[in-house]
């Protein structure tokens, strides 16, 4: 039992924190980054690469630095604190996760070096018009042809899908729309014939895209993982992403709590700081309790995220996300309320944390979805 970072992890944390402070310490800079066509700064993305963050989770054989979920947690926490807009989750955690855990050697060789050096970005195209958050609800089809595949369908809300060079697309190779079997995954170059994309900003300041796939012809080796068995891999990679989101949320909650405390210590009303009111103090204390509980579950998620056994991993990750969601809701709302009007303005950072946390709560399934997973597993087992 040990909750300390290793020396390497500590150094990693320090350097990411420094990067974020430089890039986002002045809140004006964030708007500046967002003004780029891709919605983030390619220059900053190169700095991620130079620091080795983009190759972090890949093994050394794969061209990476052999980091694990704790390293990802460290980076994502810093991203959460900075309220960063770079496609780390989309490219490294999700896209990279599919390559790491399901990609062929050829696919890994083709893409991982580019990811690590910052030249290749990815996106996971899964949500459809009817699917909500059900990973297995896939109407997009992939038809086998001579020596390849043809994809048809439409994907919604593809995170950073407007600027990604490659899309990881879920498509049905067999079965009915909501069957758990028969889903396959494909690596689709964004510039392939028949792919059209419409990008737009999301409510929390990131980018997403609607992706149309019309008779997209792909070679045989575009298939990622085993044919028809894509769901298990998606669940595995999404669990890694959920753990990363938990860490991002903890970073954002921590920063938002600090911002609130600073405000409570400065802002005066009726002649005294509002932080001197006991009712306010108790609510700030409850925010800390919620934050520390979330931090514990984010660590738990990091330690469970790479577990290949879904019977152990899925309830654990679902539990973490459910608790992080509850904490994020409480801290987000209380931060706005304790600030008052100022937090309702675009110019001030608090509202943006609130918006990111709100969206994060619903990413990959809302709280009830995760509670259902935990309850269906009979609860959390005693095994830590």
């Amino acid at each position: 039992m040990d909750f300390d970072l290793t020396e390497e992890q500590r150094l990693l944390k320090e350097s990411v924190d420094r990067l974020m402070a430089d890039a986002y310490g002045d809140f004006e800079k964030r708007k500046h980054h967002q003004d780029n066509p891709q919605g983030y700064s390619p220059k900053l993305w190169s700095q991620y690469a130079e620091m080795g963050l983009l190759g972090l989770p890949f093994s050394e054989e794969q061209g990476g630095f052999g980091g694990g979920a704790v390293e990802t947690m460290t980076v994502m926490e810093a991203i959460g604190r900075g309220l960063a807009v770079e496609p780390y989750l989309a490219t490294v955690v999700l896209g990279g996760g599919f390559l790491r855990l399901g990609g062929s050697a050829a696919q890994q060789e083709a893409l991982i070096p580019g990811i690590a050096e910052g030249s290749t970005t990815l996106a996971f195209a899964q949500i459809e018009r009817q699917s909500r958050d059900d990973l297995f609800d896939v109407a997009t089809t992939a038809r086998r042809t001579d020596g390849g595949w043809v994809l048809d369908g439409a994907k919604s809300l593809v995170l950073h899908g407007d600027s990604a060079q490659h899309l990881i697309v879920s498509a049905r190779t067999a079965g009915q729309r909501r069957d758990r079997d028969g889903i396959s995954l494909f690596v689709v170059p964004a510039d392939a014939q028949g792919v059209s994309r419409r990008g737009y900003p999301t409510q929390d300041g990131l980018r997403a895209a609607e992706v149309l796939l019309e008779g997209v012809a792909l070679p045989a080796d575009a298939l990622l993982g085993a044919e028809g068995e894509g769901l298990a891999l998606m669940e595995r990679v999404v669990d890694v992403a959920l753990a990363a989101l938990c860490a991002e949320a903890v970073g954002a909650m921590e920063a938002l709590h600090e911002l609130t405390l600073d405000y409570l210590k400065q802002r005066k009303q009726f002649g005294v700081t509002i932080g001197s009111f006991q009712a306010v103090q108790h609510r700030a204390a409850d925010m800390l309790v919620a934050l520390e509980q979330a931090r514990s579950m984010s660590m738990y998620a990091a330690m469970m995220a790479e577990n290949p056994d879904p019977a152990v991993r899925r309830p654990a990750i679902a539990a973490a996300k459910a608790l992080v969601n509850r904490s994020a809701e409480l801290i987000g709302k209380e931060a706005i309320q304790l600030h008052g009007g100022i937090a309702m303005t675009m110019e001030y950072k608090a509202g943006h944390y609130f918006k990111r946390l709100t969206m994060l709560v619903n990413q990959f399934g809302e709280t009830d979805t995760h509670l259902r997973v935990v309850a269906a597993a009979g609860g959390l087992s005693e095994a830590a």
Binding site: T202, Q337, G340, E347, E366
Partner: protein, 397 residues
Amino acid sequence: MELRYTPEEIAFRDELRATFRSKIPAEIRQKVSEGRHLERDEIAQAHRILHAEGLATPNWPVQWGGKDWTPVQRYIYTEEVQFNAVPMPLSFNVAMVGPVIANFASEEQKQKFLPATASLDIWWAQGFSEPGSGSDLASLKTTAKREGDHYIVNGQKTWTTLGQHADWIFLLVRTDPAAPKKQQGISFLLADMKTPGITVRPIITIDGGHEVNEVFFDDVKVPVENLVGEENKGWDYAKFLLSNERTNIARVGFSKEKLALVKARAKETPAGEGMLWDDVGFRHRVAMAEIELKALEITQMRAVAAQRHRAADKPDPTSSILKIKGSEIQQMATELMMTVAGPYAAAMPGHSHNEPPVGPDWADAVAPQFFNYRKVSIYGGSNEIQRNIIAKAFLGL
């Protein structure tokens, strides 16, 4: 004890409902229902239709275009405006400055302002809040110095809702900085927004909307004839004005409309093997919200019915309860709508009208309204201030 409306009250309600539905353009009502911001012209159009129907200023004195309605009728009116997603007649005109002018202004001022205020030929803005004042309104710092026939106004107001559209502004200014208490030495002025020295700066809120503004006063000359009532008595008029919001504070009609929409949309939103409405957990959340709302509605009705027994100027002990619970339920309703929208709430409103929506047509307005509605527990006396009031004034703590 009788909960039901009388047949006369039901007829009254049905008549209002029919008027609202037939006279107010459906597109405007739909925008309100979907939680979208209205354009200036849409607000003005709806207001003027109501005015033409004699329904813009029912709470004013009859001689100035008001109605001699019972408290129950007034309550039904507000309910029906909200429940039918009709834009409220501009509250700065109708609920705020109008009654102040009618009650405290000179005959000349009444003649000059009331008809134009009722018809929205003058669009009013409210200049009360200041950057440093927050919930402590009386700490305001904007000054007005008498120089001959004018006051010279200097200072800054903020959270000025729809100030970008305003023709005139009513504002509280400090005319006697030496007064022993901060509530003393405040005056109530009316100023033409075109007066040199007034600058309006937009505040964009986290939902992306431009609803509120900062208003700067830099040596602004306001004629003394624009003083309402007595100099240094402005706080009394402000208190009168703020107490007028009472019957509207719970916004039961709004929440009713919103929860009905939550149910209607959940019934046509696929989720799992059926529709979202089939999900037990979701239905129980909606049920609990509806139950809280029913309780609030009756609490509100009790307050309305009790008006018979109370002098009009006595504070209503339940108004703080209505504010707290009302804002909680409004926020609950916007949260339930977030659940209905699911992942599709994440997309920003389309930048061009030619772009097809992401998810259902209405989904892009859901998150902005959720964000925007955090305000309802902050403004109009934050819920913390309301709890202070309850504790001190009613619980004796």
